[in-house]
Amino acid sequence: MKDIMRDELGAPKIVDRSSFQAELDALRVREKAHTREGDAIAAARRLLPMVEVDGTMQLIGERGAVALLDAFEERRMLIAYYSMWHTGKPAPEQCEGCTWVATCWSRLRHRVMR
């Protein structure tokens, strides 16, 4: 087996436990700040206004037609992910790309109730 550390990865610095821990502690400060920024953004999301949606909007579920409201399954909140699907085609013929890429569009197309 070739020496990946030396030949391929440009010989990363290999250190002892105490030097590693010191580097880890230094980066941990940034990690923590990132976590807190994520919390702050989640707090800002909770302050976003809401937009009213027609709860009678029809969806087709496993047991037939249901209203959007039914998709809540009695819970207070619902997260809807829009996954693209070609009607009538079996799973292997579904577009792999759309399934991944649709992540970007789903939030625009669904006015998800908060």
Binding site: E96, W100, R107
Partner: protein, 263 residues
């Protein structure tokens, strides 16, 4: 509000909710917050780039674990792959839930481990490790429907890697038989773990995609192209040309709104 909603006490909103606005006003507020969301995503990418520039800690000691087929070394836990992530889960006498269950937090974490085929496709193995014997681990995995490899710690591995009193993820890389520790995530860092991306972002090599800011010479391939269905990686040694075409068309389409927004 429909009558159904009014009949359901759980459906009532708390009093101090934000105002209900028009779709246009909501979209404007969302776009405003999206600037911060994007900045956070980029700062996470920058953090992962910093992790990839960490020095590596040589692991000189020989550790021994119990596995389903008997004694194994730390090197064996790699399962032949280049990188290894070990999560120390608390499952042993004295932990709340024993012997029926592992620690609640660790169990919640185990429930959100995504399909490992994607991680494995980037030459990285995920393993769980606890102090309990293999017979109990086997029973727990069957009960909870967990599929990840799960080993028994038999020596000072937990003390040496900061997971003797608290949970945590340690990342390792190997070159032949030489093993190095490359990163460590614990405390609240663990709550974000579970997705393929969270695991790859803590490794020395990252997602191994061309867009990443990694040191010179690190293995990288184009994004999207290496993705596959979890049951199809073995069948396709190199990206299916049709998928390459489809992913390129998809990317071209979804990047359009970005272009418009910047214009």
């Amino acid at each position: 509000m429909s009558s159904k909603r009014a009949d359901n006490p759980k459906g009532h909103l708390p009093i101090n909710t934000p105002p209900i606005m028009s779709p246009e006003a909501w979209e404007a507020a969302r776009q405003h917050l999206l600037v911060k969301e994007k900045a956070l995503t980029r700062s996470r990418d920058a953090l992962a780039a910093e992790r990839r520039r960490m020095p590596w800690m040589a692991v000189e000691k020989k550790y021994e674990f119990d596995g389903p087929k008997g004694k194994v070394s730390l090197l064996d836990l790699f399962e032949g792959r280049r990188q290894l992530i070990i999560y120390r889960a608390f499952f042993e006498p004295g932990v709340f839930g024993w012997p029926d269950h592992a620690c609640r937090g660790c169990s919640l974490g185990a429930d959100q481990v995504s399909h490992l085929a994607h991680l494995n496709a980037r030459d990285t193995t995920l393993a769980y490790a606890s102090r309990s014997p293999q017979t109990d681990i086997e029973r727990l995995k069957a009960r909870m429907g967990w599929k990840m490899p799960w080993y028994t710690i038999t020596d000072s591995f937990d003390i040496d890697f900061g997971v003797n009193e608290w949970h945590g993820h340690n990342a390792f890389i190997r070159d032949g038989e030489r093993v190095c520790r490359t990163y460590f995530i614990n405390n609240r860092g663990d709550e974000a773990m579970g997705s393929t991306w969270s695991y790859l972002d803590m490794t020395a090599l990252g997602r191994q995609e061309e867009w990443e800011d990694s040191p010179e010479g690190y293995p990288q391939t184009p994004r999207y192209k290496w993705w596959n269905w979890h049951d199809n990686y073995d069948a396709e040694a190199s990206p299916d040309p049709k998928w390459v075409q489809v992913s390129e068309a998809g990317e071209a389409t979804f990047r359009k709104p970005d272009i418009k927004a910047k214009a």
